[in-house]
């Protein structure tokens, strides 16, 4: 019963490098989300997707990109990493029942940009 799986768990990047954070879910959820969590701040939505081939920006999309080619996978791409992107990143999914479905979260990727 895997739920939402995120890889890697930890990563250190140098300024200007790029990387992809992986997220996969096995619950056949249509809705998927990327959040970042910074100390003392609430979770902030980066991007979300309502189904394969459909993505949209959240509150803090600058510096990130996403794609959704399958129902299961929702990778987050960081281009030209900056220290401001040091954070913990959480992927989440929910059922297509928009009124009732809670979000199910992965265990996060802790990213440090130096």
């Amino acid at each position: 019963n895997a739920g939402v799986t995120q890889t890697p768990k930890f990563r250190i990047l140098k300024i200007g490098q790029s990387m992809t954070l992986q997220c996969a879910q096995d619950m056949n959820h249509n809705y998927m989300y990327w959040y970042r969590q910074d100390p003392g701040m609430g979770l902030k939505l980066i991007y979300y997707s309502v189904g394969a081939g459909i993505t949209d920006k959240g509150e803090v999309p600058n510096g990130y990109n996403v794609s959704r080619s399958t129902t299961e996978d929702f990778p987050l791409r960081l281009e030209l990493a900056a220290p401001s992107q040091t954070s913990v990143y959480f992927c989440a999914s929910s059922s297509s029942d928009r009124e009732r479905g809670p979000l199910h979260f992965g265990n996060g990727t802790r990213l440090t940009v130096t």
Partner: protein
Amino acid sequence: EDQVTQSPEALRLQEGESSSLNCSYTVSGLRGLFWYRQDPGKGPEFLFTLYSAGEEKEKERLKATLTKKESFLHITAPKPEDSATYLCAVRRNTDKLIFGTGTRLQVFP
């Protein structure tokens, strides 16, 4: 502006000492209020969803209630294993959740 505010920021309790966590919100078109538990190094874990004023949900030592302006998470006779950060989130009439900054609860034996 839509806002979710949680208080207190941190709470220290003795084992068995009951208390309440508060989540106040100013959101138009509320489509659900969610409580999550987050352990260090883990993702948030879903606890409850509340949809309308007067609604209550219970799970073991936890009870969540909802009014038109706020929600309370009551913890009865807490144990050390209840130590965690508790997050509140609200869903507007869209797909998105707005999260509060959480209450960090520590329960000492």
